[in-house]
């Protein structure tokens, strides 16, 4: 199981849950995590696919091929308040 922290609009789209506990059965990479989230929360999944929501691992933006490990600090980051100018 990995724990994923949610903020802002992703928290709202997950029914105001601050964290998700997810089981990764088919691979341990960020893209596998995204697939699990997409199945459970399609609206968040769509934003992840469009790269509007980014995944961070241990407080750095993560590439989809990065492997996640037990104890990693994982979060979903919606667009920041400043946006794109």
């Amino acid at each position: 199981m990995v724990t994923v922290r949610l903020f802002g609009m992703t928290k709202m789209l997950a029914g105001n849950q601050g964290t998700l506990s997810l089981a990764l059965h088919d691979g341990k990479r960020v893209k596998d995590l995204v697939a699990v989230i997409d199945a459970a929360y399609p609206k968040i999944g769509e934003l992840l696919q469009k790269k509007k929501v980014l995944v961070s691992v241990n407080q750095d933006i993560a590439h989809e091929d990065l492997e996640v490990h037990d104890g990693d600090e994982i979060a979903l980051l919606p667009p920041f308040a400043g946006g794109n100018q």
């Binding site: 961070s56 241990n58 407080q59 979060a75 920041f80």
Partner: protein, 157 residues
């Protein structure tokens, strides 16, 4: 992460430096923060300040309050990175960055950047770069309370 990749921004900061980069709920005193920057060096001869405040209108809608949420830990880390890059790349002597979180009333302070340099050109450049960079890389989110409901800014990609 290899040892080489661990930057100073990853390290816990204590003492005076910790006061120069803060994410806090409470309001701040611009005079007090200005004194903090001036006290860092007598070489400072030009200081540029950016103060962001809560406005009552956004994208054509009336706003009656704002709530800021941040990612504790990562937000501070990104602000430390911005300070370090400003010191290294813009030649400023000191750069202070504060950002508030929680509920902010219209007209109240949100974010403060103070850049202190030998001369004004570096201070202006660093101050502008720092607020632009803050908005790009810092995990802070803004919920606007409007007459038509609450809206996470950038909610509709």
């Amino acid at each position: 992460m290899s040892l080489e990749q661990v930057t100073k921004a990853d390290q816990p900061v204590t003492g005076d430096e910790a006061m120069l980069v803060r994410v806090q709920r409470e309001d701040f005193s611009i005079d007090e923060e200005l004194r903090r920057v001036r006290a860092r060096s007598k070489r400072i001869g030009g200081i540029a300040i950016f103060l962001g405040t809560a406005r009552d209108r956004s994208k054509g809608k009336d706003v009656d309050g704002i709530t800021f949420e941040h990612y504790e830990g990562m937000a501070q880390k990104k602000l430390r990175e911005i300070r370090e890059r400003a010191l290294k790349d813009f030649g400023v002597i000191e750069l202070l960055i504060l950002h508030r979180y929680g509920e902010i009333a219209i007209g109240d302070n949100i974010v403060l950047i103070i850049a202190g340099a030998e001369h004004r050109a570096e201070a202006f450049q660093a101050c502008k770069w720092a607020i632009d960079e803050l908005k790009q890389i810092t995990p802070i989110w803004k919920l606007e309370h409007t007459t038509e409901g609450e809206v996470w800014v950038e909610e509709h990609p």
